[in-house]
């Protein structure tokens, strides 16, 4: 199997993937006194980096000019406010994948109080560095993605996945 020109970290097959931790930074707060909607996605995007590192497609992947990952689509549910300095715990669950794309969902929890603060469902695509166009996942990534997807298959699909936005008519 083709391996990347940099070491890969140990594969973590816990379901869901539960390594990412963060903190709500002062500059992420808006005039409503809570984390601004855009910075929830900043926090989630960092969790995507942690997840991509599991299959060798994070910062090293781009620094070595092999490839990049682009988000095609994102859906965020804002479930509860978080304030400056709050610790965050973000879990990631793989929902589906194909040769070029990955469909997954992050759940953000308050790190000590435990409540669900937000979810982020994403469609990520592998990009060739040179052409800046869609390309199949490298072998090393596909191998690990298959293992992660198999490990996550036992998980129920979160209610926040596959949502349609709308105002319910009474």
């Amino acid at each position: 199997m083709k391996l990347p020109p940099y070491p890969m970290i140990e594969l973590d097959l816990a379901a869901p993937f539960d390594q990412h931790r963060g903190t709500v930074l002062p500059e992420w707060i808006d005039w409503n006194g809570h984390m601004n909607v855009g910075y929830y996605v900043v926090a989630f995007d960092k969790a995507t980096d942690t997840l991509c590192n599991q299959f060798g497609c994070s910062w090293d992947y781009t620094r070595e000019k092999i490839g990049m990952t682009f988000v095609l689509e994102a859906h965020v549910t804002y479930d509860r406010e978080v304030k400056e300095g709050d610790p965050l715990r973000i879990t990631s669950q793989i929902l589906d994948l194909d040769a070029k794309r990955l469909h997954y969902i992050h759940c953000m929890y308050h790190g000590t109080e435990g409540y669900l603060a937000a979810t982020n469902e994403l469609m990520l695509m592998n990009i060739d560095y040179e052409t800046r166009r869609a390309a199949p996942w490298p072998e090393w990534a596909m191998d690990r993605l298959d293992k992660l997807a198999a490990a996550h298959e036992i998980l129920p699909v979160p209610a926040q996945a596959g949502r349609l936005i709308g105002i319910k008519r009474k």
């Binding site: 005039w31 409503n32 601004n36 909607v37 855009g38 910075y39 929830y40 996605v41 900043v42 989630f44 995007d45 910062w59 781009t62 990049m68 682009f70 988000v71 095609l72 689509e73 994102a74 859906h75 965020v76 549910t77 804002y78 406010e81 589906d96 994948l97 194909d98 794309r101 469909h103 469902e121 994403l122 469609m123 996945a161 596959g162 949502r163 349609l164 936005i165 709308g166 105002i167």
Partner: protein
């Protein structure tokens, strides 16, 4: 429910869609892939929602006077094309639905000079009472403005990218 607002409201723009908001991709919004990071599309769209709310009479004064706030409940973004540092953005905003506490908006982001569609954002925004930090009906003058806007927006065609459910759509 607030019967009135203690400040002058701007002249209501009822164009369908709304197309007044403009912005620029800031240097701090660019990531290691050399383009606007996914999160800052959401920030840019949130500012377009802010422009929509100002048109409804809910600008900074609404918060500073401790009357209320607006919270986003849910948001869906399609990333259609990359935007680089300094790129000028033009937004259009369509009111898809409204009720006594919420609006359902659809924004489109265009490169203002090259004209291409860069992204879309479908979002639900809710009115919040300042003191209780819980949902509350729109202030009366805001509800009246929403109805006036709805009259010009209700017959717009529904955008193709609205109402999407994410999936790989395997062949």
């Amino acid at each position: 429910m607030l019967d009135s607002l203690p400040y002058a409201l701007p002249e209501l723009v009822t164009r369908a869609p709304l197309d007044t908001h403009r912005s620029t991709v800031l240097p701090g919004w660019v990531d290691w892939n050399g383009h606007m990071n996914v999160a800052f599309y959401v920030t840019a769209f949130d500012q377009a929602s802010g422009a929509f709310m100002r048109n409804m009479g809910l600008g900074r004064r609404y918060v500073d006077d401790k009357l209320g706030m607006t919270f986003v409940l849910e948001t869906h973004v399609t990333y259609d094309r990359e935007m680089r540092e300094g790129a000028p953005m033009r937004f259009t905003t369509q009111l898809l639905a409204r009720d006594d506490k919420k609006v359902h908006l659809f924004h489109e982001m265009y490169h203002a000079e090259q004209g291409y569609l860069a992204a879309t954002n479908e979002t639900i925004v809710m009115n919040i009472d300042y003191a209780s930090r819980r949902s509350a009906p729109w202030p009366v003058p805001v509800a009246a403005r929403l109805e006036e806007l709805w009259r010009t927006h209700k017959d717009l065609p529904r955008p193709a990218k609205a109402g999407r459910v994410m999936g790989l759509g395997k062949k």
